[in-house]
Amino acid sequence: MSRRTLTALLLVIAIVGLLAGVFLGPEPLSWSVVVDALLGRGSSTLHRVVWDIRLPRVVLALLVGGGLAMAGAVFQALLRNPLAEPYILGISGGAATGAVLVMALGLVSLTSWVLPAASFAGALLAILLVFRVASAADARLDVGVLLLAGVVVGAFFVAILSLILALSDAETVRSAVLWTMGSLRGASWRTVSIVATYTVPTTLALLGLARSLNLMSIGEETASYLGADVERVKKMAYGVASMVTAAGVAATGVIGFVGLIVPHGVRLVIGSDNRALLPLSFVAGGAFLTLADLVARTALAPAELPIGVITALVGVPLFLVLLRRMVRRQVG
């Protein structure tokens, strides 16, 4: 499949996902009713459902899914490791520890911004910690150390998290588990605007790094000969991709597999030129999460499924099929 075909296909899927997310939901509404609500006609209740519940939710799914997938692509390029994903540098561990800590302290029932703020702070703490360790030797950022430090810091945060949970009551444990499985139920225009504030500029910044990341995939030394400011690129890519992840995780909890599977899937189809891989990963990740969220809130309506369950259940088989086909083609 050519790059152009894939681009067109992904854009179509993203638009279909967006429309499906607005037209379908736990409450069956007819097409004409939704169109009326979109145009500002009809009852104020339906207007709310469409404009203030469904629309912000699909937009948030696009932003978070896109951000996670692109961050994953960047981490895979930066760390030159196919297992890299947005949470690999301890970000989810830090975010989850922050979130569960305020839950266990009973602070979350006070105001609604405490939880996202705490998880964002936890993620930032993990990011800084890992960064300090990886750049301790000299001013250079060693990606091998970065990866190791990330995994270890993540494990440490998970231990703290488990300790907090062991000391907490059943109710906190339940809320914490729900949070770590991820959900877009908190989507509102306010959440969307906050996440967009982080995601849009960082996405543009990462796109600007695409060419340098391409050079670095050959090797850091070669890249510096070819004129890339390797240290600057590494720090930028690490910091910016981490921020995207932290903003996403603060808004929706930990949503796994999008950042691992989507960039690999795109790479399997179009190759690893980051100039195409990064934007297409964004579109594909956004489309994927929008559709996954649609399944999450309609499959067992009125109950909602954790979105992490869908991203893994649907994403993994889809990815394996793609992987198998590509391997076979290479052999044949």
């Binding site: 209740t45 839950m103 809320s175």
Partner: protein
């Protein structure tokens, strides 16, 4: 643990009186002027003040025990939806909005409720803010102990304009509790544990609703030293501690290797609601059969 740290004393349920007299202005001319006793101002478990101009007519309760209280107050016809966890037959015909802690916002909104009752939990502020954003009045409740049950009944009574009925409901409960107390007076407390069943059973700890019921029913909770309302206990402690009666909800699996007198009680006994009096009586009859000839 979180309760202590939160310092959320039960006082938060204090029903702020409607205090300031309703301003007798434009509303007087209004044909549908507020019914007797309204407007009503109450403070919910989150410490938020709510003002009701008239009794709500489209209520959604996200807490099953609160649903039972509303039914007991006779406002069943005003309920417009239920959760997946409601067991009361009177609401079985209503559409569900999903779970009580994680309901579908969309389904809540389309029912156009004018009151939502929700649980004050570790992560309920976000939900409550969304209700406020959509202009839907909501009350946070936290039924932890029997005092909370009384307060919630009275809170709902005021909000729904049925304060007298609520008072009489509380009086009936208190009369049953007094009756039980008199019956078990002077009898040595029965050492009892209430478990939720399973291989690593959860036990009711001190201050929990069940613990309070057990005490009222002439029992002594052998797990009064747990640090939490409900916590896992070891099989070893079940074997070692002197337990006269082991209580389990119906359908629960007794822990393996524990040969104690096991008695099953209706699951509803652990839900802090209007059946508080009945639950106390049922427990007392199990613990002190001789006291109720």
């Amino acid at each position: 643990m979180r309760r202590n740290l939160l310092g959320l004393p039960a006082v938060l349920f204090t029903l702020a009186c409607s205090g300031a007299a309703p301003e007798p202005q434009a509303e007087a001319a209004n044909p549908d002027h507020p019914p007797d006793g309204f407007p009503v101002v109450v403070v919910d478990a989150a410490g938020v003040e709510h003002r009701f101009e008239r009794p709500p007519s489209r209520i959604i309760s996200l807490v099953p025990s609160a649903t039972e209280t509303l039914l007991a107050l006779g406002v069943g016809p005003s309920l417009v939806a239920r959760t997946d966890f409601d067991t009361a037959a009177a609401v079985a015909h209503l559409p569900s909005v999903g779970g009580g802690i994680d309901p579908s916002l969309e389904l809540l909104v389309v029912h156009e409720p004018d009151l939502i009752i929700h649980f004050l939990g570790p992560n309920s502020a976000g939900t409550a803010n969304r209700f406020a954003e959509f202009g839907i009045p909501s009350l946070a409740i936290r039924p932890d102990g029997i005092d909370d049950v009384r307060r919630i009944i009275q809170l709902f009574g005021r909000v729904t304009g049925r304060a007298a009925l609520a008072d009489s409901l509380v009086r009936t409960i208190d009369a049953t509790i007094r009756h039980v107390a008199e019956a078990v007076r002077g009898r040595p407390p029965v050492r009892v544990a209430f478990l939720l069943g399973g291989d690593a059973p959860y036990a009711a700890g001190p201050g929990s609703y069940v613990d309070q019921l057990l005490t009222l029913a002439g029992g002594q909770n052998v797990f009064a030293d747990l640090g939490q309302l409900y916590a896992q206990v070891s099989l070893e402690s079940l074997v070692v501690r002197q337990i006269d009666v082991l209580l389990l909800p119906e359908g629960a699996k007794p822990p393996p290797g524990v040969d104690r007198t096991v008695r099953f009680v209706p699951e509803s006994i652990q839900f802090p609601g209007p059946r508080l009096g009945e639950a106390t009586l049922a427990l007392a009859k199990i613990l002190h059969p001789a006291a109720f000839p």
